[in-house]
Amino acid sequence: MQLQYKSQAVAKPYFIAAIALFAGQILFGLILGLQYVIGDFLFPAIPFNVARMVHTNLLIVWLLFGFMGAAYYLVPEETETELHSPLLAHVLFWVFLIAGVLTVAGYLAVPYATLAELTGNELLETMGREFLEQPLPTKLGIVVVALAFLYNIGMTLLKGRKTAITLILLMGLIGLAVLFLFAFYNPSNLVKDKYFWWWVVHLWVEGVWELILGAILGFVLLKITGVDREVIEKWLYVIITLTLVTGIIGTGHHYYWIGPPGYWQWWGSVFSALEPIPFFALTIFCFNMVNRRRRQHPNKAATLWALGTGVMAFLGAGVWGFLHTLAPVNYYTHGTQITAAHGHMAFYGAYVMVVLTMISYAMPILRGREVNPERSQVLEMWSFWLMTVSMVFITLFLTAAGILQVWLQRIIPNPQPFMAVQDQLAMFYWMRWLAGVVFFAGLAVYLYSFFAKDKPEAIEAGEAHPSVT
């Protein structure tokens, strides 16, 4: 099967890099999981703080690769025109990949303070903050890549057809680039520092990234269900409105205990209690579109990922977010393993799964066929269930650990110190690690599914490539 637009091919290396970095992220997750229970595991080669930094930074970078790949794939098809500059997209891919790999190598090769010294952090001090640990040159590289990427996508949009999907995607991508600029603002006042730090972290994942999520999911559902574009666009408008109305002021749930005025406890509680609503709508949207589909698309794996995104995003971001978002509850749960539980399921459900949905839909076409062979799809669906079910268990074990942590550290009459409590959570950490191993196995099956071929007898029987009906 031919690509509709030749320039869509630039998405392929982005998807491959995303998957490779995803594997790296999970590997470091397993190392971290063990370090929770065997404190000196791999010490001093990979200290806990470094492993954690690599785990979270790889997540962000591979998701960005996924978003960019998704944009390069869907924008030509939506705008009905070739990409403005495929060459620029290729150049940016290598710049971003080399910068990302060098940054991770830097984290692992030298102590963080030395890395800061080597990379000129004293010129503009931006390092040392959670998730924004990247050295200054990497941060500048991200800005350059983001601007050039936006230029490429923007110019393509200008010359082609404008659809709600591409406009929502562009809004999300512009928001992503603009909000990252707050990574350069690092005031010495700790309250201001954390206040604006959340403008990157929160307004990315509970704001503009949700627009990107909606656009990608809308595109894939449009393709696999054949439902009218009008219907999908109406749903998207509702979802992004709900996202922005609840998510922007919902930032307040991070302001309860860091120094800003007390009214944030009300604003944060009320608006973030409403934040599950867009995810609720997203889940109904996914199932409604699949129920109303006008054709049976042969890519069953992509349909499964799309439905899974709705469900898991609602559970992880919606339910587990609500669980600890109200100020009186958060007073006890703040910064415990309950936050980690929410973070794991929300990132997996909303962003990991939507990128995998796009890859599942686009990768076969990028490899010259409409869908993967039957066996490959079966393996991919196995990987879906292995990863998703194990993520549910990771979340449940971390939640249990978090509840016990709150009890021992903050409820009982003689609260115990942090590290003493950590020792008592070991059983849950071991179970979480085992669930992580199953997740890794699911990822291995996922990787293998790209190379799986149908058995000769299945090909002869004509089962390999089910046609579109």
């Binding site: 609720f280 889940t283 109904i284 199932f287 409604n288 609602f314 449940l396 249990a400 509840i403």
Partner: protein, 136 residues
């Protein structure tokens, strides 16, 4: 010669009883999420009023949502009370169990309601797994 209707327009026309089916699924979800008890009473009233006369699609959704709501009451209220009565409030293990139980069961019931609402919006029937059979 009359102009034939646009096939896409036919598909968009609501089926008999679809509005009622959507209302039933919505009340089931509102009972779980927003107005527990009140929304259940509204659902009960809707069921009583339409169970004999509603089109099959609506009747199926009304019956399913009423049954699932009753089960939800048992699973969330009675079971939770039992755990608390048997174990008391002053143990960490009880809190771990109660919170995990309540969160997973409630989220599962909501998820089933979302699936039911999506089916109702598409004009299709939906049978709730396990909780779709009326209580004896």
């Amino acid at each position: 010669m009359p102009v034939s209707p646009d096939p896409s327009a036919i598909e968009e026309m609501p089926l008999p009883g679809q509005g009622l089916a959507v209302a039933a699924e919505s009340l089931y979800l509102i009972n779980l999420l927003l107005l527990p008890g009140l929304a259940f009473l509204a659902l009960l009233w809707l069921y009583q009023r339409h169970r004999a006369t509603a089109p099959p699609l609506a009747r199926q959704h009304l019956r399913q949502t009423l049954s699932a709501s009753l089960w939800a009451g048992v699973l969330l209220i009675i079971a939770n009370l039992l755990i608390l009565i048997l174990g008391g409030y002053d143990k960490a293990s009880i809190w771990v169990m109660v919170i995990l139980y309540f969160t997973t069961v409630h989220a599962t019931l909501v998820m089933l309601g979302i699936l039911g609402l999506a089916r109702a919006l598409a004009g299709q029937p939906y049978a709730y797994p396990l909780v779709g059979k009326l209580l004896p």
